[in-house]
Symmetry: C2
């Protein structure tokens, strides 16, 4: 059995590599010691000038060029297929490639444009990468499980195998997007690192000693290497925001029911107390906004029963823009500044990044208040219960399909075999507790109106996504900074802020950890290892405030020169 | 113990009666044999002309009179307190009265109007009755449980007892509504009849041999007797729509997250697979719309974490009005006509009512198509599982607080003691199944576009609320006609249509039941008993279409002369 799953995994791993056309292969991939950072000049050496120009243009820019026919959809698709192939060889970020289908689709788009003199949609010719939870016809979905190879979500000879497409895939196609690859995930999806027995470990392109984040770590790494301009991940505890922060990207964790999750593979599907959501990350805030707005133009609420009947609201976006464009002193925003959560304080580079954002906003005339919310510990205690409601039955069932060994990143949470399941009464009690905590937090948020001098409660909360700039293998241990957002179902955008800098990022003399978890984080810190790593920050808005928070992300990105 | 709970229940029952001022007591209440129908002329005999005028005006009309000061809030409040007192004596529909507080509030409103020359809000001086799940300060909430007497939701010496108010209560107060009574429910809330050991049985005012429906049966009966112009019930399986239909009222079952449930008592709280919602019923469609629209003006999404950030959308209402006001043949609506659900066919008066609505719409130029949806049986099987996820642990715990005997209406579902609870995996599987069924149904709904000739899928589905005009005690056995709406989280409005008529409402010769459940319904039918009972029909819209469906309810009510 052991031999069997290892052989299967290895064959699949090799098949992914073999799918890369010979002319795109890197003859000898250096190891991390030799070449820590494979972004920028390093990866550019394998590309033509035109390919570099195309792949280093953001999704908004690409859409303009392809819609006007300045660039053909085919040349754009080819450039990204090439660069994604390089990215995968450097950091193991892909699970599936379907370049031929992508080129065929691109050809059809070029024909369409020539015939109709207008683009197929707002994403005409824009390559969009997808986490390996999306089903795409003629492409496998394994989610990193060896036992899912040659099945449909673990089921053999299911009629949907090879034919079924997730709802968002249908919508992206009708918007004109080019789909060409699916990206790596930690098996189970429940880790801040991306590791599984098929592709191995997805490394951080900026520093290949560090992880790319997770669970949408393949997306993070691929977009960081500009092998994709924008792509979709999912987030049940930080899985969009962590890779966005670790890779210098913009991203959004929308609230449940804003974007269509319908027809995607998942772990522990049907656990609805704290739900996973799907959302984009990209190289610019504009790219992220473009895909969200485009998807909402497809009325996803008519095709996904979880999606709320809520089109893109221009007025919500405009309200932010009106405020920040008002003459000085006239209109202003206000933000809570969260330097820690009462359980853990972030490591120095992350603390500095959070403060940089606050300072930039303050300098621009906005109001910053200290964020003193109700107990985050209570929120986290309730949220973490939902991760193990089924005692690991679902994930262990998936492991047992092949007999593969779970990665230690996963056994940390799920053990080596299923544990006792929660009962209906226990689940209901957790749901009641979550609702109570959400109510308490919203009351606190409302109450900030008295401190902001804007006549409104704070417009967002600036805080860390993770305690680390990027974690090292097996060192991602504290999820509190991301999970509170999922527990409360808030909208959160990630903004890239700075790079870790060993010369300034130091714990204050005599720092005394505030908890065991904080001690672990404190002891984990190594300024030298993190030096040069990306540090991103999240700005958290209330539930279903995607338009507002994207406008804020764009504005803050501008303030920071991103 | 038995003696103890019986004494407690009896004391509480007596206290409710004693709270009625002596001058409002009916000396001798006739029994049902003597006086079957206590509406109209019967109850009017105890009221002054002015009181009759006030209480027979709908909420929209009352709001006009009180806002302009033509009627004082005090005289309106007194008239409804009086009429509610009479109603309770006739059909046992109240759980709590707080007339003195109501009169005090009304006095304050009159002062406010005199001082400010404008009403406090859109519900200035409008009496609003509340199901006994709402918490109101200085008023008890028992939800029909003897064990909840002198507690807060069964907990003794809880600080909230007597002080806490539900979120919607706060909003209603700030809108200017007058709160004055709470209405009866079946203990557990899980029945289409309203019965508990405190108030006994709430009878149908139109026919005191029949039930008033449930679980918001007290509301239904009170509003039918015009002891309230509009009031709030809740609905997890039909509990707003059933009493609305059985009492000749308009009502709406909004989708989850449209109106604030925050801070209300409930059964099996925390079961979120198929959730209970709160919504109004009233004597006119306008009354129902008035309160929904008014509540949404209070931004309930800032105070209830379950509520969706969605203000009242005028455009959705206007779109319906534009269509129906268009010149003939220009604009039209279209509807699915559901005569049965494949499991049960409704009894003849209900079938006739459904056909009457379809015929009226067809005559007005709208399109009716046959509704041939995916299996309702599968939907119902999944939904009913959610009712017993906890094996009855919660409701039996509530019964055991006092040792009271559960009514047989409840032991039908929950047995006499708790059964095995569902596990997390089983609950998750049901959630996945529910999502699959919702997706399948929405696809079917989308597909009707090809049949409607309007360029859109159907605007609503016309169907029965229950198989019966109104059930007899212990005879409410089939919930399929209401529960599918909860399972799919659709918006449903109830419209009063007709009265059962023994001269025309007959099963067709040689009718052959299509299932065991249908046989039970068929054998239950007795044209003579139902003669004269109200028959209402529901018109079901998609999720979160409250504005559209209320506009349709108003329009259809107009077509039917209601």
């Amino acid at each position: 059995m052991v031999k069997d799953w290892k052989a299967k995994a290895s064959a699949k791993r090799q098949a992914i590599l073999d799918s890369i056309p010979p002319q795109w292969r890197i003859e000898s991939v250096p190891d991390a010691k030799e070449q820590k950072d494979v972004t920028g000049a390093y990866i550019q050496q394998f590309l033509s000038q035109k390919e570099i120009e195309i792949t280093e243009t953001d999704a908004v820019g690409i859409a303009k060029q392809t819609a006007s026919g300045v660039w053909s959809a085919v040349e754009v698709a080819e450039a990204f297929c090439h660069r994604a192939s390089l990215a995968h060889q450097l950091v193991s970020c892909l699970h599936e490639t379907f370049f031929d289908a992508a080129i065929d689709d691109a050809k059809a788009l070029d024909v369409y444009l020539a015939e109709h003199k207008k683009p197929m949609g707002p994403l005409h010719g824009v390559p969009v990468s997808l986490k390996d939870q999306f089903h795409v016809k003629n492409v496998e979905t394994t989610m990193g499980y060896v036992g899912w190879i040659d099945t449909f979500e673990g089921v053999k000879e299911d009629a949907r195998q090879g034919t079924f497409e997730s709802e968002m895939v249908r919508e992206l196609r009708s918007l004109g997007a080019i789909l060409y690859c699916k990206t790596s995930v930690p098996h189970t999806l429940m880790s801040g690192e991306t590791v599984n027995n098929i592709i191995g470990y997805t490394w951080n392109p900026k520093n290949r000693n560090l992880c790319s984040g997770g669970s949408s770590g393949g997306e993070g790494a691929l977009i960081a290497l500009k092998g994709s301009p924008v792509g979709f991940g999912t987030d049940i505890g930080g899985s969009i925001r962590i890779p966005a922060a670790f890779n210098g990207l913009f991203g959004i964790r929308p609230s449940v029911g804003r974007l269509p999750y319908e027809g995607m593979a998942n772990s522990m599907d049907g656990q609805i107390s704290v739900q996973s959501v799907v959302g984009p990350m990209g190289t610019t805030a504009g790219a992220v906004k473009l895909v969200v707005r485009s998807l909402l133009s497809q009325s996803p609420w008519l095709y996904d029963p979880v999606v709320v009947d809520m089109p893109w609201r221009d007025a919500e976006e405009q309200a932010v823009n009106d405020l920040v464009n008002a003459s000085a002193g006239k209109g202003r925003l206000s933000f809570g500044l969260m330097k820690g959560d009462g359980v853990v304080n972030p490591e120095p580079p992350v603390l500095r990044a959070v403060q940089l954002v606050a300072a930039a906003l303050e300098k621009a005339g906005h109001k910053i208040i200290e964020w003193k919310p109700p107990s985050h510990k209570s929120i986290l205690d309730a949220a973490f219960k939902t991760w193990v409601f089924d005692g690991g039955v679902d994930v262990h069932k998936a492991f047992s399909l092949s007999g593969e060994t779970p990665s230690p990143q996963l056994t940390m949470t799920y053990g080596v075999e299923p544990r006792q399941e929660a009962t209906a009464s226990q689940i209901a009690a957790t749901n009641v507790e979550l609702r109570r905590l959400r109510k308490q937090y919203m009351d606190y948020w409302n109450g900030t109106e008295s401190q902001t001098e804007t006549g409104r409660p704070v417009d967002g909360v600036i805080g860390p996504v993770a305690p680390y700039p990027a974690a090292r293998p097996l060192q991602y241990k504290y999820y509190g900074f991301s999970v509170w957002v999922n527990a409360l179902d808030y909208t959160s955008v990630v903004v890239p802020v700075t790079l870790a800098d060993m010369s300034v990022d130091k714990y204050e003399e005599g720092y005394s950890p505030i908890s065991d978890a904080d001690r672990q984080v404190f002891e984990n810190y190594d300024a030298e290892i993190y030096h040069g790593a990306h540090v991103g920050v999240q700005i958290v808005g209330r539930r279903l405030q995607e338009e507002k928070m994207l406008a804020i992300a764009e504005y803050v990105g501008g303030l920071l020169g991103k």
